[in-house]
Subunit: 296 residues, 3 copies
Amino acid sequence: MKKLLLQLDSDEHASAFDRIVAHDAGVDEVLSYGGVLPADATALVHGAIFTRGPDDLHHTAIWIGGSSVAAGEELLKTALDAFFGPLRVSVMMDSNGCNTTAATTVAAVASVEPLAGNAAAVLAGSGPVGLRVAELLAHEGARVTVIPPWRALLGDKWDTGRAARDQAQAETVGGKAGFSVRSVDGRAGLVEALGSATVAVSAGPLGVNLLSEEDWAIHPTLRVLVDLNPVPPVGIAGIKQGDVRKARNARTVFGALGLGGLKMKVHKACVAKLFDARDQVLDRMTIYDVARSVLA
Amino acid sequence: MKKLLLQLDSDEHASAFDRIVAHDAGVDEVLSYGGVLPADATALVHGAIFTRGPDDLHHTAIWIGGSSVAAGEELLKTALDAFFGPLRVSVMMDSNGCNTTAATTVAAVASVEPLAGNAAAVLAGSGPVGLRVAELLAHEGARVTVIPPWRALLGDKWDTGRAARDQAQAETVGGKAGFSVRSVDGRAGLVEALGSATVAVSAGPLGVNLLSEEDWAIHPTLRVLVDLNPVPPVGIAGIKQGDVRKARNARTVFGALGLGGLKMKVHKACVAKLFDARDQVLDRMTIYDVARSVLA
Amino acid sequence: MKKLLLQLDSDEHASAFDRIVAHDAGVDEVLSYGGVLPADATALVHGAIFTRGPDDLHHTAIWIGGSSVAAGEELLKTALDAFFGPLRVSVMMDSNGCNTTAATTVAAVASVEPLAGNAAAVLAGSGPVGLRVAELLAHEGARVTVIPPWRALLGDKWDTGRAARDQAQAETVGGKAGFSVRSVDGRAGLVEALGSATVAVSAGPLGVNLLSEEDWAIHPTLRVLVDLNPVPPVGIAGIKQGDVRKARNARTVFGALGLGGLKMKVHKACVAKLFDARDQVLDRMTIYDVARSVLA
């Protein structure tokens, strides 16, 4: 029986990236749907659960993607609501790569540095990926500070309303997950906010530099740095995009493309795992478990 | 040479159900198109008939589906018009599952009860599935009465214009196929209209009860009952959704999910049959022939 | 590793023709996208180049199609711009079949008749296919004359603005490729414009006759004639649609369907060739090289 992956994507054209990785992860056929709204998803999910008997449903799975994390979360909720009893298939949500990126980031850090009891900072971390990174760092026992981007950093791209919403969202998530949010108004404030952190993750924005090489080369406690910005100039100067567990200035660093290579392994392992059983939900913590075992 | 199924679906997102069943029926690749209008269909059908030589065209077939039976019938007509000479492929129309559901229903009844010369009633039977059931029952020699839903049964969902159109359509089809249409205005009328029927099929609407268990348990002639409504409350009380040739109150009954399992077998057998030759049209009667041989 | 073809099609529904031929050419999966605008293409191309390592990228390729040649050219440019360094895959553009049709036409002529130093005429040749035919004939050393359609030939379909744009475009392309453009105002002028041509290709329009059988049967120099119009009446009377290297009136002729069969072989060979290496651009001249070797 073929392994079928139902791809529900909130963007008009379903991600070619996700389709290709699914094939390389061993899926036989990807049933791609683009422009999927929650109202459309129920019928498509019913198509997945009503066609094969309960004993064969682990050969079908659902992938939820697209560029909008909020839209992906709505589609995930709709899919889970459409299941009933034994009529369910495994489902994974990774809109904008948010879950695999965050899980790979924290698993990569954890593979080189103990997190429990140490301080960690997530720079420009109030977006979906940054918040997931912070949640996972806190889950590992780190004392985490999320530092949102500030007005001067974003320049023309600054949006006061969005910044306020992101900040409120970060505080809500932090309240549950156990991390704090600290606003700064410039680079000096950012460096100061790093405090005694041993880990720093820069989570955006694209093509904007946050730390100079000197900022971290002379920092007294930093031991691991990860830059998630793949578009030059890099977010943390002095890290090369392809770096993976690279020693620079006596620290261990990861660049965006190097981390991306690890993420691809995690992504494939997650897709393969979907077909182990029919009742899995791969989201945040479960994807992190896969990342930990892939990067162990 | 791969078995390719061109899926032309009138809904925006082509049915995931039909795609998955096609794969399970042995199709190698399903070329899915959603939101297909008759104006689009000709070019797609030409793509199917102009690519492979006449001797290989039985490896390509067309599936027409979607939730609207009327749209599916238009697409079928367009596809057949696009063929010429030996440049044709086999095609099946099963919008809203109408043909496979009706064929499976009547084949299931015929597998347990002689129909020729006996009376049969199709309850709430003036929609596409009900009319197809009535046609096939008449084709087997039964004296068939179609009983449309009445105003009080539908409550808020009653639409006078649609009811009139359905009634007119039922009478037109019945005139050709040899069945009669009898309107009633309540449950008492419905039970009376059953008359001397040995077979009763309840064809809708979803989640609405038509007969109480007592209605049929004490009926003097009924021997086989089929309920096609999969949403509780069931259309014929006392039938369980999963029932397949189940003895209840000394009658043989079929529930919607039980019938659905049989329909899945018929559906798969039809898809497989499409690739036997390049010149088949699987619609109504031909799908019924497949159902008869599957359920023999 | 599966051979994956990313199909970027400018029409709402991606061509079923191109999908089926791709499967028959040995592609494992076609990732079809319809209604692709240049703005959408970059993300889809990134999906193709960022998923597999550089050493495996020859297992992925891009096909650009659709009915509009201008839209296809824009998509091709966008795709090539999205590549960088070793992150690139092979790509082919064949919107409206223009490149494979033109390449097959000239390769077919060249397989039966020397072109260098001889005269050739392309009738109704100012559209995309005609200009590509003229380019290739000139590339082979022929003295080529492109003769645009005239007002009376097109009747109601005549569009003065479009005719002027096509004429200007033909002169621009001819200036680079080394062919001339000669306007005529009726059939007599057309026959006169044939001059001492040994080759005549009729490139359109659909269902319109350009030459009578007498026009060419008594012509003193013509030796090879190709008619690309598949809709009766044929463009060159006396040629049968299925003709392939057929001797008629002591000339060698090709009809539109016969040429179409050769084109299919070229099309498949091109798709197969895409997977030989990751850095090929199959367009005009490179497709012609494939056609020459297929029809040698």
